[in-house]
C-alpha cells in the first residue's frame, strides 16, 4: 500500500526547501538553492540590513540572545500545563543542537528568529509573531523556519513519554502491541 513518503514523523511541506532530514540548502535542487539564498538576502535586507545579512553568512553558533529567543519560541509552542512544558523536558536544548549542527540551519535560524522577534515586538507577543509568520507565503525563510521549528519541537516533545499524560497512549507499540484492537478504545481496561 502507499506509504507516507516523507519518512518518520515528517510533515509535508516544501518538498525542495523544507526537508528536516537534510540540510535545507544542500537538499534543494540548484535553482531552489539559489532562490533560497536570494530569499535569505532579501529577508535580511528587510529586517536588519547589511549587518544581519553578513551575520547570516557567519558560521558561528547561535549566540545567547538567539538562544533566549529560541527558548521563548519553544515555550510558546508547548507551555507547561497539566503536562510538563517543552522547557521542562529540555526540548529547547535539543532543538538548539539540531539548529547549530550545520551552517545552513544556523543561517535559517538566525533569520527566522530575528523575524519572529521583530514580529513579536516590544510586548514579546509570540502569539502575534506566530500568526504573522503563518500569513507569509510558504516558501519564505521565516515561514520555512517556523514550520521546521514547530515540527522539531513537537517531534522531540511527543517522543518523550512524559508528554503522553492525558493521551490515550501509555506505552510504545512494542513489546505489548495492542491485543485489544478489536474493541472500542479503553473498553478492555474498563472491563478489567
Amino acid at each position: 500500500m502507499a506509504l507516507w513518503p516523507w519518512g518518520s514523523g515528517g510533515l509535508p511541506g516544501r518538498v525542495d526547501l523544507l526537508d528536516t532530514q537534510n540540510d535545507p540548502l544542500t537538499a534543494a535542487p540548484v535553482t531552489g538553492r539559489r532562490r533560497f539564498l536570494g530569499l535569505l538576502a532579501g529577508g535580511a535586507a528587510v529586517l536588519g540590513g547589511a549587518g544581519l545579512f553578513w551575520r547570516l553568512l557567519l558560521p558561528s553558533p547561535l549566540d545567547a540572545k538567539e538562544l533566549t529567543l529560541l527558548r521563548r519560541a519553544v515555550d510558546h509552542l508547548v507551555p507547561r500545563g497539566h503536562a510538563p512544558g517543552a522547557l521542562d523536558l529540555g526540548i529547547d536544548r535539543g532543538v538548539a543542537e539540531a539548529l547549530n549542527a550545520t551552517r545552513q540551519f544556523r543561517r535559517l535560524a538566525r533569520l527566522g528568529l530575528a523575524w519572529l522577534d521583530d514580529a513579536a515586538g516590544e510586548r514579546s507577543d509570540w502569539e502575534h509573531a506566530f500568526l504573522s509568520c503563518l500569513a507569509q507565503p510558504t516558501d519564505v525563510p521565516p515561514r520555512i523556519f517556523f514550520q521546521w521549528l514547530r515540527n522539531e519541537t513537537f517531534g522531540r516533545y511527543y517522543a518523550d513519554p512524559r508528554s503522553w499524560a492525558g493521551l490515550s497512549i501509555t506505552h510504545p507499540p512494542q513489546p505489548m502491541g495492542y491485543p485489544d484492537y478489536r474493541s472500542a478504545p479503553g473498553a478492555m481496561a474498563a472491563r478489567s
Binding site: G9, L77, G81, R150
Partner: protein, 554 residues
Amino acid sequence: MTGHDVVVVGAGAGGAACAWGLASAGLSVLLLDAGPEFSPTDYPSHRPDWERIESPDKPGSRGIHAFAPMQKLSPAHDHLRSWNHISGLMVEGDARRGVAYQHVRGIGGSTLHFDAESHRLLPAAMTMRSQFGVGADWPFPYAELEPYYITAETLSGVAGAADPARPRSAPYPLEPHAPGYASRLLTERTRHLGRTWRPNPLAILSRAYDGRPGCNYCAQCNRGCPRRDKGSVDVTYVPKAIATGRCRVLSGAEVTGLSAGPDNRIRALTYRDSAGQTHEVKTRCVVVAAGAIETPRLLLLSAGPHAAGGVANEQGLVGRNLLETLHWTTCALHPESLGTHRGLPSDIICWDFNAPDAIPGVVGGCRFAPVTASMLLTGPVSYATRVVEGWGRSHREKMQASFGNAIAIGAIGESLPDPGTYVDLAPDLTDPHGLPAARIHSHLDDMAIGRIEFMAAECRRMVAAMGAGAPFEEFGAYDMFSSTHVFGTARMGTDPATSVVNAHGRAHHCKNLFISDASVFPSSGGGEAPSLTIQALALRTARAIRDAAARREI
C-alpha cells in the same frame, strides 16, 4: 568465485523466493544483495521515540535514482493535489514531481517495509490487451499460476478468507484476522453506499505458525516487524533456502555488471562488496531480481561488445513499460474515539471496483482499504505535526481529544503503460561507484487521471460516510511520483518483439539469463499488492530453471 549452479541478484520478494525454489530443487545458489542484513532487534517500535527513527534503515539500505522532469499540472485538476492543512501543498509549482521510488535494499528487499498484503491477481486483469485493447496480456492464464500461489501462501503464512473472484485449490493456511474496531465501523457505515468489505489476505500470522509467533497488532509493519510474524522474505524464504545447505547468501554485494559472451550467454558477473573490493563470479545461470527500477538499470549498465545497448535489450524494451503506483488517500479526524493507532495496517479490503471495467468511463480497476497505519498516523508525533493545528494550550487540548481518531482511506488503481513512463540511465547522477543511477520518467494520461479522480471521490465519500470531519490531508499520484509498487520494465510475453523475457522469465535471446521480480509483469492488476504474485512467478521460474538444468541447457 565459481561453484554455484545459479547466481541470484537481489534478495527481495522475487530473488528470495526464486533462491528457495532453486535450492530446494537441488541446485546450488549464490544469493547476492546490495543491501545489509536486518534483524528483528533493528526495528524501533519498542522505543518511545520510535516515530522519529527512519526504519528499516541502515547504511546501504537505500539506492539512489533520478527523476526526469514531469508533466505540467492543470488547474482543472487542483482538487487532486496533495496537501496538508498545516503545511499547505505538498508539491508547489505547476509541474508533477518525482518524490520517491520507495524501496529497501537488504536481505528481504522491499518486503522489509511492506504491509504484507498478499493478493492474487484477478484473472480478468491478466488479459487487458485481448479484452480491452490496452496494455499487454499475461502469457499464461491464472490457472497456471494457481499452484504456485498456494506454495507462496503456505511459505509466507498468509491469513485470509476464500474469495470467489480468485479461485483457489486449497484453503488459506491461516484463518483471517478479525477486523479492528474502526474497520468494523467502516464496514457498517459504508453499507448504504453499497460498499462490501472482506478480510484482506495478509502474510501476517493470525496464530503461531512455522516457528513464528502470532501478531500482537502493533500497527508498525512499515517500520519492520520485531516479532517476525510478518512474512517479509528474510524470515520466510531466506532461512528456508539456507537450511537446504545449498544456498549461500551475501549481503552488501552490489552487482555492477553482467558480461555477455558471443554465444548469447552470460559468462560472469561482477559485484562490489561492502569494503569496495570488486569480485568476478563465473556462472552458468543468472537470475536478476533487483526490483523493477534496478533490474533494468543493471541490464542497461551491462552493455558490452556482445550486448550493444544492454543485456537482453535487442529490441530497446528494457526499462520501457514501467507501471507505477496510481494511488489516492484521504485522511480525516473522527469525532469518536476509535483507537486507530492499534491493529493491522489494512485489515479489510473493498474489491467492488477491482474488475478492469468496474469504473465508469475508465479501463482498469482499483481497490480501497483503511490505511491509517500505512500513513504512519499511529503515534503522537505524527498527530502533533500533521493532524492537530496550532500550538500552545489549545494544541495540547486538541491532542488529548483527537489522539487515536484519525482515519485514512486509501485506493490503488491499475497503471497502464505510457510511452512517457520508463526507466533509463541518468546522464547526470551517479552512484558512489561512479555508475549512472536509474532515471525514472513518468507521464499520466487522461485515463490514469480519470482513475485517480474516481479513487479520490470514493475515498472522500467513504470518509464522510464514516462520520469524520473535513479531511486534514490528502495525498495522491496526480502531482507526485511516489511509488511503492513498480512493475513492467522487463515485461514477459511470447513475442520477442514486444517483450524482454518469455513466459518463464527467461530472456528471449540470452538463454542463461532469467528475470524474477516485478519487472516481468505485463500488467499491474487493479490495485492488487504485487509481492505474492512476484513470489508465485519466482517459484515458477525456479521450476523452469531446474527443468532447463535437467535438460543440460544451462
